[in-house]
């Protein structure tokens, strides 16, 4: 079957062959899937009495980029925030169903959400640097973990800024405010801040929606580079972005149930190329061909 399924993305990154539709590489040799990082099954998220997201099941694999796409209000950000327990911060939010992280239930009572967030980093829609210097922004996560010698902090800050492709631009002004940077630089600073604590996973909630196309291209390049090291889950409004960077794509939509209550649902989840070339569901096809949303 898998004859022409080794795909080179627009940006020249050869996606791992394991990501072809049937888990075989270009030569048809069966290859094992990368280990499962998140195994979400039957996830419901309720805000107050409103069941906002229903029956979501998907798996996220190691060192892949998984994109969650769909129209506004379809619950993709809500699902993302379940993965590092940031929904705990939303008053009235309740999560049911199972979110397993390397086989361990993230919502088990003995799980410490602080530890979860240390291992699963997050980048937000709007760049949100702290009102501190560039250096302190990146060192923040390390400082809250505990005391470290200055030399180690310096090394880790440089490593993170280099990893976020920002070091050359800021190395001479580490003491300046994080707000002195441009929007795109601020977002890369937030990425540097997130990877400084060496997380296992990076969650990105529409990381480019506040950026111009050039800054977006830089962040996308960065994502592809980071995917060698991290598992990335990205929420995006931008279908081209999902097509450009992701290995797998989950398409969500907002629907009314029989009582007319609007809620988000996972429609289709598959290898990105399949979603964009040959979606199984009519609604996916309509969305990616621009017929709605």
């Amino acid at each position: 079957m898998a004859v022409d399924l080794t795909v080179t993305t627009a940006r020249g990154r050869t996606k791992p062959a394991s990501v072809t539709a049937d888990g075989s590489d270009a030569l048809g040799e069966p290859r094992p899937l990368p280990p499962t990082v998140f195994d979400v099954s039957d996830l419901f998220v309720t805000y107050g009495s409103h069941r906002a997201v229903r029956e979501v099941s998907l798996t996220v694999h190691e060192r892949e980029i998984t994109a969650l796409i769909g129209p506004s209000g379809c619950g993709k950000s809500t699902v993302l925030r379940c993965l590092n327990r940031m929904n705990d911060q939303v008053p009235g939010a309740r999560v049911t169903g199972k979110v397993a992280y390397y086989g361990e239930d993230l919502y088990a009572p003995q799980v410490d959400p602080i530890e979860v967030r240390r291992r699963i980093g997050m980048v937000f829609q709007k760049p949100n640097p702290f009102p501190k210097s560039i250096y302190e922004n990146v060192a923040y996560g390390l400082r809250v973990e505990g005391r470290r010698p200055k030399s180690e902090l310096d090394d880790r800050v440089e490593e993170a800024l280099t990893g976020a492709a920002l070091w050359d631009e800021v190395k001479d002004k580490l003491k300046e405010s994080g707000f002195a940077l441009s929007g795109g630089q601020q977002q890369r600073l937030c990425i540097a801040r997130a990877i400084a604590v060496r997380p296992e996973v990076l969650l990105m909630d529409e990381p480019c929606s506040a950026l111009d196309p050039i800054a977006t291209a830089k962040v996308e390049d960065l994502m592809l580079k980071l995917a060698d090291e991290f598992t990335i889950v990205i929420v995006t409004h931008n279908m081209q972005q999902a097509a450009r960077v992701s290995d797998r794509t989950a398409f969500f939509t907002a629907e009314n149930d029989s009582e007319g209550v609007r809620h988000g649902r996972l429609v289709e989840y598959d290898v990105t190329d399949k979603i964009f070339s040959n979606p199984a569901d009519r609604r996916t096809e309509d969305y990616i061909s621009g017929r709605f949303g």
Partner: protein, 324 residues
Amino acid sequence: MTTGETQKIREDRPRERRTTERTRLAVAGARAAGQGLYTPRSAKHRVTNTLFSAVLFLGLGTALVALTAIIGWALVEGWPRLDANLFLAGPSTINPEEAGFRTAIIGTVYVIGGVIALIVPLGVGAAIYLEEFADRERWYNRFIELNIQNLAGVPSIVFGILGLAFIVRGLGNFGFVAAAGSMTLALLVLPTVILASREAIRAVPSSVRNGSLALGATLWQTVWRNVLPAAAPGILTGVILGVARAIGEAAPLLLVGAVTFVVYDPSFFEGGYSVLPVQIYNYAKRPQEEFHVMAIAGVLVMLVVLMLINSFAIWLRNRYEKKW
């Protein structure tokens, strides 16, 4: 009618006649409306604008003139007594020429120092609890919130009676000492400080909190390392306002032992004490003219002390603001 005929009719009629009366009216109206945006304002607008500015300047002017008048008057009247003795000598009922405010200044510094030491941790702590940790669904948290707002409007003499009953006597049983004065005034200004600090904490955007939590910081680390530094300027403004009010208060202190005549330097936890406003009142009510001059000079002393304390707080605030 053929196309050719239509063409002919159009050419016959002058261009402007081709529009109906109504269309021309609409165009004229639209043009007038558009021009209104770019041409100078009408006379009516100018008058209203001038009037409004005048009212604003009148308000500002009244405040400035009143303030300058009071300070100027105090300077002129108190001038004969503006010397080192005013600050360094203790009070006297016998010779007003050599009397000063030394003990009252020390008393004020003690009382206000105590007030600051109490209101900063208590006020900021209460504000942090209410903003970051309290569950607003719980009735007791709403009850506390409501009462803090009410307390901010309670007359100061009520706090004086409270201080007398529970701090000087009763539970605290501290006696008539400067510490009791500090505690009473701290209770008086705490609501102001809490409300101002809450506003400042609330003004810190939630994106900063989320960013910190997402890095694996605890709520406490988030508050301590991120929210408080960002809110510090606003909190300090609240403290400045609270302290400014506390310095000028005489009524509640009269009840908790700021006795009016202290010859020896007071101490914080024992013996009688006095503060500047009470001392000023004491001089002002004496029959001799010389003491009235003393009282006026005392007003200037109080202003100097107030300005010193406030400029320190403002310096501190600017230091925090300047960072970012």
